[in-house]
Homo-oligomer: 154 residues x 2
DNA sequence: TAACATTGGTTGCATATGCAACTAATAAGA
DNA sequence: TCTTATTAGTTGCATATGCAACCAATGTTA
């Protein structure tokens, strides 16, 4: 391994740390849901959360809010509909639009995820000062801004 | 509109920030490779990188180093073999083992990814002091440690 | 109003991923 | 040595994901 490699080493740099931490968080949540007997993926949980905050969103809005392609979201919703967590209703005024609603089952399931999230947050932030968490978020925010700006120039 | 454009608003939990930043980095790399005409996923790039550092690794080692399941890695390798980026050779002393080697094509392709990584690193760290990047990594490292410890207790 | 453009959603095709069950080869133990 | 783990890798099944092509509904414009 030569000097160039060290400078250029994505794996040992910020990107690697951000990516691997994200992966660990995903894995933790996945296992936690399973451990608690929740028939729910973390991705589906995020959808439930957005609907909990704002019921009746349309698919495109949900896709936007959950940072995924509309086709990916559509398929997530199909699975969640089969599990009776959500329903989709065609909008009366614009027949292209589907409005998505939480069912009672979905609402209950979402509530069951909350303590798991609280525990995870507590675990993550153990022995880390609040100020340091703020600083972390601040840096990530600026990194995101940097990437957005760069992409906008293309 | 691009998904990455709005990230910056809603959820303020650390986990969400880490996850969304990781997602942006993945998207950036994916698009950059495509833009440069590289027939390569970012996941495959990581494999090329590990082999570049240490040719002849066995599949399980590669899976460990790239943080994925051995089955996932096996399928990645199958695709990379079809594209003639790598070869797999059965070990003489232990016939269960496959050793994985970069081909010349794989080596060339890997080299072509390097400038893209350099640019991304430069973009990410724009207007951010080196000290702050170190701090970011340090905090992420401790978060990872916290999660590992918690999982070990289960 | 007729022709064209945009928008919301679905589907085909491709990628990546983990778990569990399985095979083949090697290691360990009685 | 023979039986019983353990290990490396593959495969089936399930999840999630993006892009592009497509349809149907709505909007725009000439």
């Amino acid at each position: 391994m030569n000097n160039t490699d060290i400078l250029v080493d994505f794996d040992k740099s910020v990107g690697r740390w951000i990516g691997s931490t994200a992966k660990m968080l995903d894995n933790y949540l996945h296992e936690a849901f399973q451990r608690e007997g929740l028939d729910l993926s973390k991705e589906q949980m995020v959808v439930l959360k957005k609907l909990h905050e704002n019921d009746g969103l349309i698919q495109n809005e949900l896709a936007f809010l959950t940072l995924r392609d509309k086709s990916s979201l559509a398929r997530l919703l199909a699975k969640m509909e089969r599990k009776n967590y959500i329903t989709r209703e065609q909008d009366d005024f614009d027949k292209r639009v589907n409005r998505v609603f939480l069912t009672e089952t979905g609402r209950i399931t979402f509530r069951q995820t909350r303590p798991i999230i609280v525990v995870l947050k507590k675990i993550m932030e153990k022995n880390i000062k609040e100020e340091e968490i703020f600083q972390l978020i601040n840096t990530l925010e600026r990194i995101q801004h940097n990437i957005s700006s760069a992409e906008a120039q293309i």
